[in-house]
């Protein structure tokens, strides 16, 4: 199990925005609030070469959803994203 380390590198700009080590600007300082990114290695879940674990969740209508059933023999891109709200 990898213990991720918080990336706190931050450059505060006069316009209120903050730059991370790659130069991406954002309203939050790096290492604060939602902008708590790992520095170096961090967990990325199941390994390449293993079966994607079953995913049972609800879709945006609230109906049950089974990812492998939906895939139905097709290749899949399974995206885990931060939020649709912010």
């Amino acid at each position: 199990m990898i213990e991720p380390e918080l990336d706190t590198f931050n450059v505060a700009l006069e316009n209120g925005l903050n730059l991370d080590s790659d130069g991406h600007a954002g309203p939050y300082a790096n290492g604060v609030g939602p902008r708590r990114n790992p520095r170096g290695d961090f967990p990325s879940g199941p390994d390449i070469g293993t079966r994607l674990p079953d995913i049972h969740a609800t879709d945006s209508t609230g109906a049950p959803f089974d990812v492998h059933e939906y895939r139905n023999g097709r290749p899949l891109a399974m995206v885990f994203f931060r939020s649709a709200v912010w």
Binding site: M1, P4, L6, D7, D20, D22, G23, H24, A25, G26, G33, P34, R35, R36, N37, P38, R39, G40, F42, P43, S44, G45, P46, D47, I48, G49, T50, R51, L52, P53, I55, H56, A57, T58, D59, S60, T61, G62, F65, V67, H68, Y70, R71, N72, G73, R74, P75, L76, A77, M78, V79, F80, F81, R82, S83, A84, V85, W86
Partner: protein, 273 residues
Amino acid sequence: MDAFEAAGVALVALSYDEPDALADFAAANGITYPMLADPDSEVIAAFGILNTLIPEDDHPWYGIPFPGTYVTDADGTITAKFFENSLAVRASGAQLVRAATGEIVELEPARGDDAMVTAVAAFDPSPLAAGVQRDLLVDLAVPAGQHVYGLPVPDGMVHAHVVLDDGPWKVHAVDAPATQRHVLAGTGDELQIYPGSVRLYVAVSHNASERGDITIAGEIRWQACDDDQCFLPQRQRFELPVHATGANWMQPEHRHEGENFVAHFRKMEARRG
């Protein structure tokens, strides 16, 4: 989305949002692929990708994953993963489709030369949002009887790779074919070689500190050898235009418009409080 459908690749996205928030987001942005709700972060935690750098009592941020994407083959086996340290960086649809299908884009050779290695680089110049990766394609055409090197490479020799000039861009990963083991007859030293022509996919993003028409500049470096001799290391510069835009989530067409999103945010702040 059209590219996924055309390629026969299923696309599903999951976040810690409530179903009604996802429905509003899908409607506001014209999204037709399934968006799954994991409001208690159960799936995220089961995958082992919960962002544990966010304290459990820090609402509404707690519960997000280290964001990333898994690509599987038709049997559901993971064949590629796209995970980045920064929330600001993500894979592009084109990268995911290529990972799922192995689709090959043909490049025009830079110049004909049947004696020496030639190299060509290409980059889609269409608008690219900050943090979204796009593959810079490099083809090295290797004449019969010659080879170029992959990693690891002994000191003093140069493997086939790309170095970008300093600029508002970053290389995230390089996807190269598997190398072959090559044992030198004289010394018994082992080298990793590409025995024929080789395609490198160099994932690049920019940070929007320069916007509009920018030029990504850098060089391809390599060294070729045949069974008798090694040639001097070579460098070939490239300058590739692209139209750089701000982050997608900052663009007017991607804003979370309407009062619903304020309500969704307030609900997220309160739901685990």
